[in-house]
């Protein structure tokens, strides 16, 4: 019986590990999905920030994911490469760059965030948006460390990013 149940368990992605605590994982998916479903900040910016954090933390299982909306990538690959320092940042807007700088500093050392740095974020996103971005950063940073520490296996082969429909509060699985 136990062996049969274990064969049903996911073996890739966050499901493979977080799925071991079904109640916590359910609440986590609902929390995480809100940022996408409600577009609490622009979805392309959310995607850029997610990947920039993954880059800082060298989180390969996260870097191997690209979120789509209705089959269309949230961000084109050129802008992704700009966000992770592999292409010219000219592809990004001034406000986006301010948010990415803030995101990287948040991960490196939150005490290094300056008033002017956060002010640029607030100017770009407004008060509620800057709260949403900071919450999203806390989620991304914390759970990418979770992925790395617990060895969450990437959903694909890792060589080519896997495109996955973006999360929602009703998502029953996450990559």
């Amino acid at each position: 019986m136990q062996a049969r149940e274990s064969t049903k368990r996911a073996t890739r992605g966050l499901d493979a590990v977080f799925g071991l605590r079904a109640d916590l994982y359910r609440d986590y998916r609902q929390f995480y999905g809100l940022f996408y479903e409600r577009a609490l900040i622009p979805l392309d910016l959310l995607e850029l920030v997610r990947l920039a954090v993954a880059d800082v933390l060298c989180c390969t299982s996260e870097l191997a994911i690209r979120f789509d909306h209705a089959g269309v990538p949230l961000v084109d690959e050129q802008r992704v490469q700009a966000a992770i320092g592999q292409a010219d940042e000219a592809a990004l807007g001034v406000g986006e760059r301010a948010c990415l700088d803030f995101a990287r500093q948040f991960v490196f050392d939150v005490h290094g965030v300056t008033d002017s740095g956060f002010g640029a974020v607030r100017d770009h996103l407004g008060v509620a948006g800057s709260v949403a971005l900071t919450e999203a950063l806390a989620l991304f940073d914390g759970f990418m460390r979770f992925r790395k520490l617990l060895g969450v296996p990437p959903i694909g082969d890792g060589a080519v990013p896997a495109h996955v429909e973006m999360p929602s509060t009703g998502s029953e699985t996450l990559p």
Binding site: L24, D27, Q30, L34, F35, V113, D115, A132
Partner: protein, 65 residues
């Protein structure tokens, strides 16, 4: 890091957390509170261990709040 609040506090809301900057996003606050409550109430880790980890983390990140 600055010591002045970087955002205005929201008006209304019940409880200290709802009147903090988190109150500007009530839906995410509610979702976070559900997750946090599950962690504390339905977990397999002894709450005393969780509390020690919480406080150690607060100290490591110099979070006086």
């Amino acid at each position: 890091m600055g010591t002045r609040p970087r955002l205005p506090m929201p008006e209304g809301g019940e409880g200290a957390v709802a009147r903090s900057p988190l109150g500007h996003q009530p839906e995410t606050l509610a979702a976070f509170e559900r997750l946090y409550a599950t962690l504390w109430s339905a977990g397999v880790v002894d709450p005393r261990v969780l509390e020690l980890a919480r406080l150690r983390n607060a100290r490591s990140t110099d979070c006086g709040i």
